[in-house]
């Protein structure tokens, strides 16, 4: 993916020069290892700041909500699926966008790498198949497949589903992936065990809402947790309120979540709240044969009715 950056800059420069877009949204080089910053270029000169590597995990569709200008946007597979969802939900118009598609080989998980290193990582160097992490007195190379973000290791839509430009030939999609092993283990738990699992999972939550805010789906003008009349959820650290936030947030993403991993990636205290959205993602697949963001033509299951929709849950 290392050659992508140059191609992104070339396309972005061309789009800005020709005036077909007013801005290009991509990433610029981060200031700490394994982080890049979502960034925009408005002039051809500014495209030099745009980069691409295995640390571009933030979902850029999040930056499109309700924008009015013509935008070029760099999009890996999951970003493109959220762009589709945004278009379906009227948060942006297709004709406003020039999608610069990035066939993706997955993003690396900086926490996974940090845990495998003996000290603080001060630099990470990427090659075609892996990354080398360096720090005080150590240098350790990792095969990319061993340190992928969990969602990336399960991804079967690495290539952008819509694009106007493509920075490289499509990559082969991963085959034979068991996407829902973790959900099945959750489903196999008894109610008490599952409750305990959830309690422990959410115990460190500080309600900073990074998971919600990193998510392109969370664009409600007033989120239910911020609503005062009526106040659905308490504002303190009562575990009941923390759970209510996470559960309702997940339900609000049902049939829309693309498992882009931005929520988990953003969490400052390392909570894998994806187990909730993945459970609902699996339900949507099992019940409706639905995967979010694959088509501009088909309405999502939660805003359509079909006579053959399952209704076994009505007791």
């Amino acid at each position: 993916m290392l050659s992508y950056a140059e191609k992104i800059r070339e396309i972005a420069g061309r789009l800005l020069t020709s005036g077909s877009v007013e801005m290009v949204i991509g990433f610029r080089q981060g200031t700490v290892p394994m982080m890049n910053e979502p960034h925009f270029a408005k002039t051809p000169a500014q495209v030099q700041a745009l980069v691409w590597d295995s640390h571009c995990g933030i979902n850029l569709a999040n930056y499109l909500t309700d924008r009015k200008e013509k935008i070029g946007i760099v999009a890996k597979g999951c970003d493109s699926r959220n762009i589709v969802t945004h278009i379906i939900e009227n948060k942006i118009k297709r004709e406003q966008l020039v999608v610069i598609g990035v066939p993706c080989k997955g993003m690396v998980d900086k926490r996974k790498i940090a845990m495998k290193c003996p000290g603080e990582i001060t630099a990470v160097i990427e090659d075609e198949a892996g990354v080398t992490a360096k720090g005080g007195g150590f240098s350790q190379r990792f095969e990319k497949k061993d340190v992928l973000q969990h969602n990336c290791s399960l991804c079967i839509h690495r290539n952008p589903v819509i694009h106007d430009e493509l920075v490289a030939e499509p990559v082969p999609e991963q085959q034979g992936v068991d996407r829902y092993a973790d959900v099945r283990s959750l489903e196999a738990m008894g109610p008490e065990q599952r409750w305990k699992y959830v309690e422990e999972l959410l115990a460190p939550c500080v309600r900073c809402y990074a998971c919600r805010n990193a998510c392109p789906l969370c664009y409600c003008p007033t989120c239910f947790v911020d609503e005062a009349r009526p106040q659905w959820v308490g504002k303190g650290q009562d575990p009941q309120d923390v759970r209510a936030f996470h559960f309702l947030r997940a339900y609000h993403c049902a049939g829309r979540c693309t498992d882009c991993g931005s929520c988990e990636r953003s969490c400052p205290v390392g909570i894998n709240m994806r187990v909730f959205t993945k459970k609902l993602e699996k339900d949507c697949l099992d019940l409706f044969g639905w995967e979010a963001g694959l088509s501009l033509e088909v309405r999502p299951p939660l805003d359509t009715y079909r006579p053959q929709d399952p209704n076994d849950f009505i007791k």
């Binding site: 200031t31 910053e37 930056y63 900073c208 990074a210 990193a214 990636r265 205290v269």
Partner: protein, 355 residues
């Protein structure tokens, strides 16, 4: 004040003794990250941690804290009348707090302890706490304490400063509170005459390892409205997702919300951490929001830390350089970079105060 040598083999026994008169808190590793917790009987603080993931500010300033209690039961004579909630103000010691986090309390105190008003909740928690700091022998690469009015051996806000000297800790006793804690641990061995020099050497070596810095020298003289109207805020704020990670992880951020929570007929009025990153923070009842865009909010955070605070208190910036926001921001907005932009604009003369 004097310097004590605490042999590491006497550390656990001394702590067990001190636990008789202090509630002890220290860094503890849970799953992946360290955080400050109440130490269980016999549990030792884990000094192997570079610094805790989140700051220890919650020890003095819990994320949710009950201030007042009330009853809505009209059969009671005191119904609807607010009462102060009870609090445990017995002595406690925070072990292994880093100098940056201890200095942060000194900055935050300026907000909660003013000539006009005193926040009794913050103050009584702070005053009942003895801060036993652990100097930083190997600071993180994203730490910039030495240019943020702090340093790896900084003493402000500490009662005792510990330095790891191999088989023993050097304990520099800085206050009466610190002396009481050392006495409670039963550590009495005065360090030898060379200890001061050793500490100075360790300090120098640690300070030399701080690789990262901020420039702040032009901020004070800068004109507020010129900085406020600077052109770079759109670019700085673009990536921001308006989460509270930076403010919640920051040891110097103090903003809070007040909420009533009722269950049945009894309830509490509580203080909860709040964040200037949230739109709700400033939303008027009418729907008007004076900081209605993320540009407003990101600008507020940096202007507060790097300009308003500087002007209001003349004590430097509202930042101790711990680097947490740099490490934890999900979209890599870096205060060092923004500080550079602000200071640079100020230094360029475009933002000079005109008087």
């Amino acid at each position: 004040m004097k310097m004590i040598a605490i042999p590491k083999k006497e550390w656990p026994a001394g702590l067990a003794k001190a636990a008789g008169s202090f509630r002890l808190f220290g860094p503890v590793k849970e799953k992946e990250f360290h955080s400050f917790k109440r130490l269980e009987n016999g549990q030792l603080p884990d000094f192997s941690c570079q610094n805790t993931r989140l700051s220890p500010k919650h020890l003095v300033y819990p994320q949710s804290e009950v201030m007042l209690t009330y009853s809505l039961d009209e059969s009671r004579p005191d119904h609807h009348i607010m009462k102060e909630a009870p609090a445990d103000t017995s002595p406690r010691a925070v072990l292994g707090i880093r100098p940056c986090d201890a200095k942060a309390f000194v900055l935050v105190r300026m907000n909660f302890d003013t000539p006009d008003y005193k926040d009794p909740y913050w103050l009584r928690a702070y005053e009942s706490t003895t801060f036993v700091g652990l100097s930083c022998a190997s600071p993180c690469s994203s730490c910039f304490c030495t240019t943020a009015g702090c340093g790896p051996f900084h003493e402000e806000g500490l009662d005792v400063l510990l330095a790891d000297a191999g088989d023993h800790f050097l304990a520099k006793v800085l206050t009466e509170k610190g002396a009481a804690w050392v006495a409670a641990g039963g550590w009495t061995q005065t360090a030898d005459a060379k200890a001061e020099g050793r500490l100075a050497d360790l300090r120098q070596a640690a300070e030399a390892k701080i690789a990262s810095q901020v420039q702040t020298e032009s901020l004070k003289a800068a004109d507020t409205t010129a900085l406020y109207n600077a052109g770079f805020w759109e670019e700085v704020s673009f990536a921001c997702i308006n989460c509270g990670t930076c403010t919640y992880s920051c040891p110097t951020c103090w903003c809070f919300d007040i909420q009533d929570e009722t269950r049945g007929t009894s309830g509490v009025r509580m203080k909860n951490w709040d964040s200037c990153m949230y739109p709700l923070f400033t939303l008027h009842g009418t729907g008007h929001n004076p900081r209605g865009t993320k540009l407003h909010r990101v600008r507020q955070r940096f202007m507060h830390k790097l300009k308003y605070f500087v002007d209001k208190y003349d004590r430097g910036i509202q930042c101790v350089g711990c680097g947490r926001c740099v490490r934890l921001c999900p979209v890599n907005i870096d205060i060092r970079r923004v500080c550079g932009l602000m200071n640079g604009l100020a230094a360029s003369g475009e933002a000079c105060a005109i008087d």
